[in-house]
């Protein structure tokens, strides 16, 4: 087991190295002078020259990459062009709202999606199943900001049940924090719920046809316990996989959700950085999110062995 973890961790190193190389070289793949791209349209030639020297464009590419990578490994992601603050500091300031949003979304999505998928599989080909699957297709089709505006309009503006926008730090109390996150979490979780529910149903349908389920039924095990104890355990591998892969959807969706609900998190940071062409910030955020994504999928691989003891590496 320990050998497996070590091997699996080592296997992520080339992937992360590629991501780093890709994120770094993005600036140089783009057509035109990278210094001019960063400087933007309103820059004077002096600005461009200053940025060019800051980037060290006079030295070979691999040397610059090596230096950059070395600094990144020490946690130095460079300096923001617009605010002149270290990128790592900007990220640290904005990380709490985004992590809160994602954790609440993740829990909410799993709590809704898994039972929904199980129910749909149990009632396969009935109207309950059709309704659940219709919900899933809708979930895939309605873009995240549409859901956001709709929910905010109905539940915050018209019904006045929940705050419209904004974020309250966890340090100011659990309820104010949670209250502000309910609508954003449902918004962000919409696609995710659809995805998890669909895979749960497919996986459950396969398992429910197996002999040991019939055996359990015939010895009189209750329906709930068959579904959630006997079947779900064996149907869990694809579900856990898709929860891991779906984190990519959450990361992309967070950028939009934070704009809609005016949450001062990493998504807002990204959007602001794009509008100002603050490239070190964009690089830093993409690198960090990719790192988290790889890490979560590494974790998912490790969870496999807990769910299914037959999996031995």
């Amino acid at each position: 087991m320990l050998a497996f973890i070590v091997r699996r961790v080592i296997a992520t190193i080339p992937v992360m190295a590629f991501v780093a190389l890709f994120v770094f070289s993005l600036l140089y793949i783009a057509p035109g002078d990278p210094a001019a791209v960063i400087a933007g349209d309103q820059a004077t030639p002096a600005d461009v020259e200053r940025i060019r020297q800051g980037l060290g464009l006079d030295r070979p590419f691999l040397v610059r990459f090596g230096e950059w990578l070395f600094r990144v490994l020490r946690g130095d992601l460079g300096i923001s062009i617009f605010t002149s603050l270290p990128v790592s500091q900007l990220i640290a300031q904005r990380i709490e709202p985004t992590v809160s949003l994602m954790v609440v979304t993740l829990l909410l999505a799993i709590l809704i999606a898994v039972p929904l998928g199980v129910l749909a599989a149990w009632k396969a080909n009935t109207w309950i199943d059709r309704l659940a699957m219709a919900f899933c297709v809708t979930g895939f089709s309605v873009p995240v900001f549409v859901v956001g505006y709709l929910l905010a309009y109905v539940f915050a503006l018209k019904l006045d049940w929940l705050p419209v926008q904004g974020y309250t730090p966890l340090s100011q109390g659990v309820w104010p924090w949670f209250e502000n996150l309910i609508l954003p979490a449902i918004t962000l979780g919409f696609v995710y719920i659809a995805l998890i529910a669909r895979i749960t149903r497919a996986s459950m349908l396969e398992v429910l046809q197996q002999d040991y389920i019939r055996t359990a039924r015939s010895k009189g095990v209750g329906q709930t316990s068959i579904l959630f104890l006997h079947a779900l355990k064996n149907a869990a591998i694809p579900v856990v996989t898709v929860i891991g892969i779906g984190i990519a959807l959450l990361i992309g969706g967070a950028v939009v959700t934070e704009s809609v609900f005016a949450i001062p998190g990493l998504g807002r940071l990204t959007v602001d950085a794009i509008l100002r062409r603050d490239y070190p910030v964009i690089q830093g955020v993409v690198l960090m999110f990719s790192f988290v994504y790889v890490l979560i999928n590494l974790l998912v691989d490790l969870v496999y062995t807990l769910i299914d003891p037959r999996i031995r590496y």
Partner: protein, 305 residues
Amino acid sequence: MTKPLDPTETAGLVVAPQLPDILPDRKPLKGVVGFCRRNPSIAIGAFLLAIMFVMAIAAPYLWTVDPTALAPSRRTRIPSADYWFGTDMFGRDIYSRVVYGARISLIVGFSVAILASIVGLVIGLVSGMVRWADSLIMRVIDGMMSIPPILLAIALMALTRGSVGNVIIAITIAEIPRVARLVRGVVLTLREQPYVEAAIAAGTRTPMLILRHILPNTFAPMSVQATYICASAMIVEAILSFIGAGIPPTIPSWGNIMADGRTLWQVKPHIVMFPAIFLSITVLAVNLVGDGLRDVLDPRMAKKI
């Protein structure tokens, strides 16, 4: 189909199992009507898409005005007989903008689906057929797949000027890895098939082997994947435009109209609402076609997902 017997209901009784009907009770309908009856999801999706296509092509003739014409005296009107969908904060007619906006979504969606499929197919074929290239290509693909697609597209767009072409390229690059992975998987399974081994034993050259034995079998999974890419590209385009990193603001696209309405959504929700409805319906239509295609092309999966 008959309902399977529930063992708990018949406990203690000996019941002869009901045999399934082998013959269908009526002749399957032929032609378009029969196809629609059998595949309602493709039919509905294709119908909705057809409407969107007609709308995009015939935009100038659908009682629209210039979608970019400014009219400061008639700002933020709510929907009325004169302005069917109201006007935005610059007095532009939202109905006209939404109708013209269909062009951008359809162009982006379909271009990305076609381009990503072609490039992904080539990369997947090389990876599946050429052993030494496989591990290198897969490392690159793994790396690209570990960057969330929307972030990748955002990072690419942040570097270039906003234009329709650049949006298409950025989303295509973000979508290629998934196609390549899929094709590689199919090719690797096909290579083990006895008929492919027989073809190799019979001396078929690699180009002919690919063309005649491998390529036709990638078509089914590819076409399903392409529809999902199309749907996802439309959403990503709208997201990019919405956050200001996509189509230039002067071109009416659904994402841009929503971006314009963003600051006013609490008081004038109609500006955001109309493009949102059209975008959702179009993406839904593409997804329905995709689901239908999957059921037709892979009947074993049909009853599952």
